[in-house]
Symmetry: C2
Subunit: 171 residues, 2 copies
């Protein structure tokens, strides 16, 4: 599935394309993940490798999916999503784990095209909703709210990591 936009009213403008990622994009995806982590001031949290991403995105038991956003033939951003599940809805939803556009290519509508693409995938897959987590200080919140996303301010994500998780498991 591809989604294109370009050449409007006789004026040549670089074509924007959203396409599914392939295994050939792994190095690029890891670069984008690191750039996003840097923007989120979370570089220390990145331990992903190309091998691990291959398994998760393209391996036999993969269940996460990546999209690449291109501008004038150059990849400039990406999105990674998977399906989550709502007991209240009794059905799955689409969860966007990451969405990122390189700083110099923001404001050109590429992020919106990635989100639109995700929304079409979600609707096609029978999802009732699409969700993602955003850092409180991220100015993109205004953009997400403008396209109709609602911030669930009354929910807090809790996380049990590595050692604490093992301790609870008694391992």
């Amino acid at each position: 599935m591809q989604h294109k936009r370009g050449k409007t009213e006789g004026r040549e403008e670089p074509v924007v394309v959203v396409r599914e990622a392939t295994a050939g994009d792994l190095s690029l995806i890891l670069t984008f993940i690191k750039e996003l982590a840097e923007f989120e001031r979370l570089s220390h949290a990145v331990v992903a490798t190309e091998e691990a991403l291959y398994e998760s995105l393209f391996g036999d038991r993969s269940y996460a999916h990546a999209l690449i956003g291109e501008y004038g033939g150059e990849p400039v951003g990406f999105a990674v999503y998977f399906y989550n599940f709502s007991t209240f809805q009794g059905r799955h939803g689409l969860y966007i784990e990451d969405i990122y556009i390189q700083p110099e290519k923001r404001g050109l509508g590429i992020g919106k095209m990635l989100l639109e693409h995700c929304a079409r995938i979600a609707v096609s897959a029978g999802c009732a909703r699409m969700e993602f987590a955003v850092l409180e200080w991220n100015p993109a919140r205004r953009f997400y709210e403008a396209i109709g996303a609602e911030g669930l301010d009354d929910w807090i994500i809790y996380r049990l990591s590595s050692e604490k998780l093992k301790a609870l498991a008694g391992i």
Copy 2:
């Protein structure tokens, strides 16, 4: 996989069991989902049916899983989880969508046994972390923090629901 506790120091106390749910538990699970929604003041949000839950939990393409907590042979709570994915980790994690113990059976350690069971599943599956979302006013937050869970206060979950999702998808 089952997890039991009972009969300590000569004193008979009801046995606590955590077991995997089966299709025979669907009506019970839907009841628990509705009770949880009532506790969370979100009853209006429950549209799940037994049929939809069957597909998600036990159907050919199921990817969510349910556990039942029993006290003295009686089911008194449940947990539903699925696997999410972290690009920073490059691997999946375990996400607990729901965890619920009936009010009169709280404080008996059944919820902790459900969480421990989830933690063992997570570690066995190679997950680096386990996550769940908690309502800000839920007193269980203290319990989650006591077992080592960290509240990610700087993240906000955003949600695009039904009509807004379709609008973005252009459908």
